[in-house]
Symmetry: C2
Subunit: 374 residues, 2 copies
């Protein structure tokens, strides 16, 4: 039983805090008192309404806790992770900041702290699955991950809703996608290489390149083929490409009359009411990870891992919150068990240890999230 | 030989001024000195760099002139037209302001002035063609006008360029389209009722409802069926509908960080570089007017009028500027010939007089713009 701070009470943050509160003492922090009230009234989670963008405030706030979960929007960047480490706290991070967190590894080590980052579904469990195969196969030749979280109800024109801020999603559509083909790193515009794929019980989805490999490119330079793609309903990517190429996702300030704005901020503001996932929405998370290589017996093998998860209306947990949040909480409990060396941990490195990989899978399985291998 | 002021040196204004300067003394006004320089250096047109949005300034500026052409952007509204009349000047207006100019009729009459408004291609010549048939048919039962100005080069994603400000075009996509069916006035969202149509030498275009009937609905309440549609390349309207319904054309101010902006202004700003027609662009204007009714002999007749006009690279006149500007200039010369009673004139009322209709057609025909009747 630990004393845990959860930063951010968005749809993912609230699922994380409520789940952790079954076994731990949890305080949820968010700048929005109504969000805290709606998320946690009648639960074991304590709440604190706080603006968390001020690093010096954060240090005092976090003093009483054993561990901090960062579930703030990614556009707040690595500032929060740095502040948590400077405050001397172990942490699990699902903010998915666009920046590489590696420069913070030495700070974690110096302070004797464990920071687990990118610990959601993808990045997160997709990394863990690859880490497991890197340690069990004699050679991995190809890694492919396709993943998406989507609403059941397809509403024109975007057919998309998310528990994340639109700005974070648009950032994924803007940042060039890096992957590896025949040992060469390539970079293509996000939303490229669209392909239609059929999923039983879901129908046809469209995959396209996004910059989702993140730490995997550095962790496994020896794997010659690595690609990550995002899934949406067909047409969404084409529409997003149009908006992006027309300048609607630009972060360069433009003058409009007397005002100066970043087009991305205006677009996020306009899309917010269309994209905001509510607790009433029925949605699902789908992921397929393919790993090709040579197994320990020396035979060619393709391991396929599939995830299909749905909204849990009984507990008011969206599927995207469940799959992201319970992966995060598995890591929280693994960290609390001890044994991880101080430093910055990516999920693939945790999962190279068989018992830790099983711990992550087991924690989620008990909550109805099944990664099926075939 | 008259002394004429042309307000606005956009692509249409410059064609108007250069053409009028063959027979008249012309001064072109624009707030942008570079636009004036590029449009008129080496021509007979004199220039005056002036911010024209201040009505009191306008009155002094216009004192020396016999007639004023208003070729300013429509979003400046009727303010300019009112100022011109208050300055005691006859005028021809192709600003196509969204507001109904009828309330200014009494001001024109009181001052003994002639104001010809909406005197372009559509509105403009489309109105004139209907006016002609109203006066020559015993009964008109249906009026249909489809019209568009398009670039030859179709560039993803909008396949559209215009010599007008994007804000004016977006306004056409936003204002509900009013038309008349079986004697009933209906109003539908702009961009509705999309239909594919083939045009020889052009290919397939898509028509959709826009609010282009303007004065015609009031001028001819007895015509039971009236519709006006805009032509674009297929797909443009669907894309515009998505942007409109997502809020990108909204004129309601939104707060974005510390700034307050109207989404329409941001969108116009972003689309401007994609949509701006340059003198190098090859483009065309296509219009088809259908008038069904009973002719003077008592027989059923469908009159079809077709226009297809192209960029004049020799004179650096875009087709949209030619068809709009030369219709305007025909009316300028008609007004200068005298004979029009003081008041506000819409093109349909001018063309009910056969000789005036022929004057409009003849002026344009000498400049290579042929309205073909079949």
């Amino acid at each position: 039983m630990a004393h845990i701070a959860v930063l951010g009470a968005g749809l993912v943050g609230r699922t994380i805090a409520r789940d952790l509160a079954d076994e731990h003492t949890v305080v949820a922090f968010d700048q929005n008192p109504e969000a805290l009230e709606s998320a946690f009234s009648g639960t074991e989670v304590s709440v604190a309404a706080q603006n968390l963008s001020n690093a010096s405030v954060l240090s005092d706030l976090l003093a009483p806790f054993d561990l901090v979960v960062d579930a703030l929007p990614g556009h707040l960047g690595l500032r929060t992770l740095r502040s948590i480490l400077e405050a001397g706290k172990n942490t699990v991070d699902i903010a998915f900041a666009p920046e590489d967190p590696s420069p913070l590894a030495s700070l974690a080590r110096e302070k004797g702290l464990v920071a687990i980052v990118d610990m959601g579904v993808a990045p997160g469990m997709s990394n863990a699955i690859l880490g497991h195969h890197v340690s069990t196969f004699s050679r991995v030749e190809r890694f492919e991950c396709i993943v998406g979280g989507l609403p059941r109800e397809r509403r024109w024109p975007f057919e998309y809703r998310a528990p994340f801020s639109p700005a974070d999603v648009l950032e994924e559509y803007t940042r060039p996608a890096r992957y590896r083909v025949h040992g060469e790193e390539v970079s293509v515009p996000a939303l490229s290489n669209r392909e239609k794929l059929d999923f039983p019980g879901i129908g046809t989805l469209e995959s396209f390149d996004t910059d989702g490999l993140r730490s995997l490119l550095k962790s496994y330079p020896e794997i010659p083929n690595m690609v990550e793609k995002t899934l949406r309903y067909p047409g969404h990517a084409a529409l997003m490409e149009i908006l992006r190429e027309s300048g609607f996702f630009s972060t360069e300030t433009v003058a409009v009359g007397d005002a100066k704005v970043r087009p991305l901020d205006v677009t996020s503001r306009l899309l917010f009411p269309h994209w905001q996932l509510t607790e009433a929405d029925d949605e699902f998370t789908v992921m397929r990870v393919l790993i090709e290589g040579t197994n320990s017996a020396g035979d060619r093998e393709t391991a396929q891992w599939d995830l299909l998860d749905h909204t849990d209306h009984q507990r008011s947990d969206s599927s995207m919150a469940r799959t992201t949040g319970f992966a995060c909480n598995a890591a929280v409990n693994l960290l609390l068990e001890g044994g991880l060396e101080p430093g910055l941990w990516f999920p693939e490195k945790i999962a190279e240890d068989r018992s830790r990989f099983d711990f992550l899978l087991g924690y989620q399985q008990r909550r109805g999230i099944n990664y099926r291998r075939s």
